[in-house]
Amino acid sequence: MILTLHDYWSERGCVILQPYDMEMGAGTFHPATTLRALGPESWNAAFVQPCRRPTDGRYGENPNRLQHYYQYQVILKPSPADLQDLYLGSLAAIGVDMTKHDIRFVEDDWESPTLGAWGLGWEVWCDGMEVTQFTYFQQMGGYDMKPVAGELTYGLERLAMYIQDVDNVYDLRFNDAGVSYGDVFLENEKQMSTWNFEVADTDTLFDAFKKAAAECERCLEAKLPIPAYEQAIKASHTFNLLQARGVISVAERQAYMGRVRDLAKGACGAWMDKNGWAA
């Protein structure tokens, strides 16, 4: 399926990238999306990104909720006029028969408070199941998009469950030799859920958050937006872990999110400056 999507988007002018080697909550955090979405240059890319969402962990007991899963992300700037058709073409390519299945674009506006980003679009339903987030970015890092980029985020496990017709993610067939998704990831989900929710040392995490934030600022002073952005990603994930550990109160939550947003905005701003783009 991933290969099919790579072929499909590659044929349509996308550069095929590899996953970013840092922990992040969504493919949108990949610098190929966040930073490259800024500025006037054309940019078309497709890649798989593993996502970590510590609070979504269910110790491997929920049929489709995972603290670690994969997104397939496509970013196209400027958003092409036929983006919806291109997207539907990709569904057809991976085997969705649109004469038998009900594909629907249902309003779902996207916002990432930690990236200072928002966009309008839909969640795409296939027979009532959300399979893709489809967004026209309007702002990133607090900056207006000039021009607007279109972002497609496919939930790979969900699509695979759908295509393979299985009800539980762990029953997905990883290959034809009898290896299942569960064989590969179930133990990981169990252990990581335990660590995320119960074991992770919160003092270390608080410390890590502070250090990442400080390092981000040092990088910004040194006018190095990419390392600064990496530190912002690090701070963001550390914050997510602290959330999972339940040690951040409702009131503090806003403050932490604001802090991460400021770091991400700072990195985006520095990226704009570095490239000589006006806000």
């Binding site: 958003s79 299945h101 674009f105 309003e107 839909w122 026209y136």
Partner: protein, 727 residues
């Protein structure tokens, strides 16, 4: 006359915005035409996921020629005046017309072709269109000034008669082609004009008329349920939403595992509706059935088998999650959730939810112990659902105030217990997932842990009534908790100076006040708002500027009462006449809402009678004289020693008779009798003004007569402050 067709085809428009978009399109179109002096015979608008359309019928081919006339100086005026006028109009002397010695500038504006007007109007409408949220897209969006639409706009059809109205907006050129259904008929279609629009698209598997789509969904969903031996749970909101999500709606019935029916039916219905936009069904016994109806947007080649299967799986996953929450929640007693409530901030200045619970529990107990809420509150309404709340306290009659009950016994304990548990469900998994289930889930969990059914009911319903038209609780335990909750909210927020302003009411205090009024009036709870306020203040440990807030609280409640009663035809000036600003004693100001409304109704009935109108006129005359003479407040009355004129003596006799009657009637809360007592003054007052001169030359007579008028005024004031009544 010619018809005009406009179709704006875009990517999927959010369902919730479609109705507003139709309205705005019609409004803007009408306004743009009006600017050019045009109006259509009829305007029809359509909205769906991928197109917004308008048909204007009966437009003329061109606007009428108009001639404008501007009056100038007299022909004989000095040259400077003429020059000024020529400069202003941009004409020469020869172009002016002289009439009766005055110069006129007459400019003739020829008629314009309607198509030309439309070619300017449509781009203006598109650019100014007020979407709740709009976006930029594509290469054009390199500029932030690029066009905005709700989602990318792809094509515009504009046909006047059969002709394209040519214009260009941000790279989109108007034309006559559109596309049909995304999957069934994606090819281009050439439209011929307004008349054939609906049918041409129907042939391309698009029903442009949202009402037709809604009708199909309504009828087909019901029929599917009936074929399965079930009854559809109707939901017009869902009908409209599904009509907004489909161009070719195909309702399909599916089933889910019966085992999920253990989950409360409200949860299933909510999950199905909110997350999936499905209808649910009832079986013959009235219970929720394990069936759903989804609305597809295609006629699938397999008859929808795959679609039903897929949707069923998604719903099963949702229900599995819901059941997981429900079963997990059931493992914890509501009492044990208290520590979690201590962590939720209700408001930074008002403590945590646990603090609020503490206050509400105390207040609920007090309401019972004080005898305000009793075991069987006397209900005065004839029945639920007719008219709005508090309708028919019959003219002037109110139930007697309940005697204070010492202790309140079991009822007080139940009320306190229910209040104590009422907010616990806020920290359950289910309410975390579905906030709109607050209260309801608490009710289920309370029942499950073996609470008294009255407590469970109170936990469930204590948020009610939410807004006008919602059922007002009547069960005593529920009434006590619901009233205490709203009272605490109002007093607490007023205490920290949080007040609604204009359209801003972030803590829904107006709604809380309406709820409080509804609870008091519907259950005929006899209490003074003054007592309620001070009890609530005493209850809270926060510092409250009581005097200021107390006055505000009273005014706020009365203000909401006026709003609420307006729909019942109760006049605000009549309410003012009974309420009166100021203290409890002055003019017998009314702070018991039940009695207040009874007085208001009796008074309003009276002032519209002949006697009432005349008495009001007499009263106002007396009050004006007194005001002019500076006679204020009550005057001590001593019978005059001079020889009384007959009308004077009559009035005194009438007052002697009426005063005790009115006072007695007010005390007995028989306000019709009080009005009757006042009515007996009408004729004597009229005659007094006809026959007697107040401003007599004899100072003794003048003083005595002013005192008599003051007595009239005071007598009227025992019933109401007539000076507040308009007319």
């Amino acid at each position: 006359m010619t018809d005009f067709l406009l179709e704006l085809r875009s990517e999927e428009i959010p369902a919730r915005m479609q109705a507003g978009a139709r309205e705005n399109l019609a409004k803007l179109f009408t306004a743009e035409l009006a600017k050019a002096g045009l109006s259509a015979g009829e305007i029809v608008t359509y909205a769906g996921p991928r197109r917004l359309a308008l048909i204007a019928r009966g437009l003329p081919a061109a606007t009428e020629a108009v001639s404008e006339e501007v009056k100038g100086p007299r022909a004989s005026a000095p040259p400077q005046a003429l020059e000024g006028f020529l400069r202003k109009t941009g004409l020469t002397r020869e172009q002016l017309t002289e009439r009766d010695g005055v110069l006129f500038a007459i400019t003739k504006k020829p008629g314009r072709a309607t198509a030309e007007v439309l070619a300017e109007a449509i781009p203006a409408i598109v650019r100014a269109f007020p979407w709740p949220k709009s976006m930029r897209w594509g290469a054009e969006s390199a500029s932030t000034e690029s066009m905005r639409w709700v989602r990318p706009l792809h094509a515009i059809v504009a046909l006047f008669g059969g002709e394209v109205v040519p214009f260009d907006i941000a790279g989109i050129t108007s034309g006559n082609t559109t596309r049909g259904h995304r999957f069934h008929a994606p090819a281009e279609i050439v439209l011929t004009g307004a008349d054939a629009y609906v049918e041409q698209l129907r042939a391309a598997k698009v029903l442009v008329d949202q009402d037709e789509r809604a009708a199909i969904i309504r009828a087909r969903a019901s029929a599917l349920a009936a074929e399965a031996g079930l009854e559809l749970v109707e939901d017009e909101g869902l009908v409209a939403e599904n009509a907004g999500l489909t161009e070719w709606p195909v309702p399909l019935l599916g089933r889910f595992d019966e085992a999920y029916l253990d989950v409360p039916p409200e949860v299933i219905q909510l999950t199905a509706r909110v997350n999936q936009k499905y209808f649910v069904c009832r079986s013959a016994d009235g219970k929720l059935a394990n069936a759903f109806v989804c609305t597809a947007n295609i006629e699938a080649t397999d008859g929808g088998a795959k679609i039903v299967e897929g949707n069923g799986k998604v719903l099963a996953a949702r229900l599995s999650d819901a059941r997981f929450f429900y079963e997990t929640d059931l493992k914890t007693k509501l009492d044990d959730l208290r520590p979690k409530l201590e962590k939720i901030v209700f408001h930074e200045k008002l403590g945590t939810v646990a603090d609020k619970v503490e206050r509400v529990a105390k207040l609920a107990r007090w309401l019972v112990e004080e005898g305000i809420v009793t075991e069987s509150p006397s209900r005065r309404r004839e029945g639920l659902g007719e008219g709005s709340a508090t309708g028919d306290v019959a003219g002037g009659e109110v139930p007697p105030p309940s005697p204070p009950v010492n202790g309140g016994g079991e009822l007080a304990d139940l009320a306190e217990r229910a209040a104590y548990l009422a907010k616990a469900d806020l920290v359950t998994g289910m309410v975390g997932e579905f906030p709109e289930l607050q209260g309801l889930m608490g009710g289920y969990y309370a029942a499950a842990q073996g609470e008294d059914p009255r407590v469970a009911e109170a936990v469930r319903d204590h948020y009610k009534p939410v807004g006008q038209g919602d059922d007002v609780p009547t069960a005593p335990v529920t009434v006590a908790v619901a009233l205490a909750d709203k009272l605490d909210t109002l007093v607490s927020f007023f205490g920290i100076d949080e007040r609604p302003t204009g359209s801003k009411d972030p803590f829904a205090l107006r709604r809380a006040a309406l709820g409080l009024i509804g609870l008091i009036l519907d259950n005929s709870l006899r209490c003074s708002d003054y007592d309620l306020f001070y009890q609530a203040v005493g209850n809270s440990e926060i510092g409250i500027g009581t005097v200021v807030a107390g006055g505000y609280f009273h005014d706020f409640i009365i203000d909401r009462l006026k709003v609420q009663q307006r729909s019942n035809g109760v006049r605000h000036d009549v309410i003012d006449a009974v309420v009166l600003p100021g203290s409890e004693s002055e003019f017998g100001g009314e702070r018991d809402l039940v009695r207040l409304l009874a007085r208001v109704r009796a008074l309003q009935a009276f002032v519209t009678t002949d006697d009432g109108t005349n008495l009001l006129a007499g009263y106002k005359r007396a009050a004006n004289i007194l005001k002019k003479e500076g006679v204020e407040g009550d005057q001590s009355w001593t019978a005059p020693t001079y020889t009384l004129e007959p009308a004077e003596a009559d009035l005194i006799a009438a007052l002697d008779a009426a005063e005790p009657k009115a006072a007695q009637a007010v005390k007995a809360e028989d306000f019709e009798a009080a009005m009757a007592a006042l009515a007996s003054l009408r004729a004597p007052i009229d005659r007094f003004f006809d026959d007697v001169t107040v401003n007599d030359a004899d100072p003794a007579k003048r003083t005595a007569r002013l005192a008599l008028l003051a007595r009239v005024r005071a007598a009227v004031h025992t019933v109401a402050d007539f000076s507040r009544i308009e007319g």
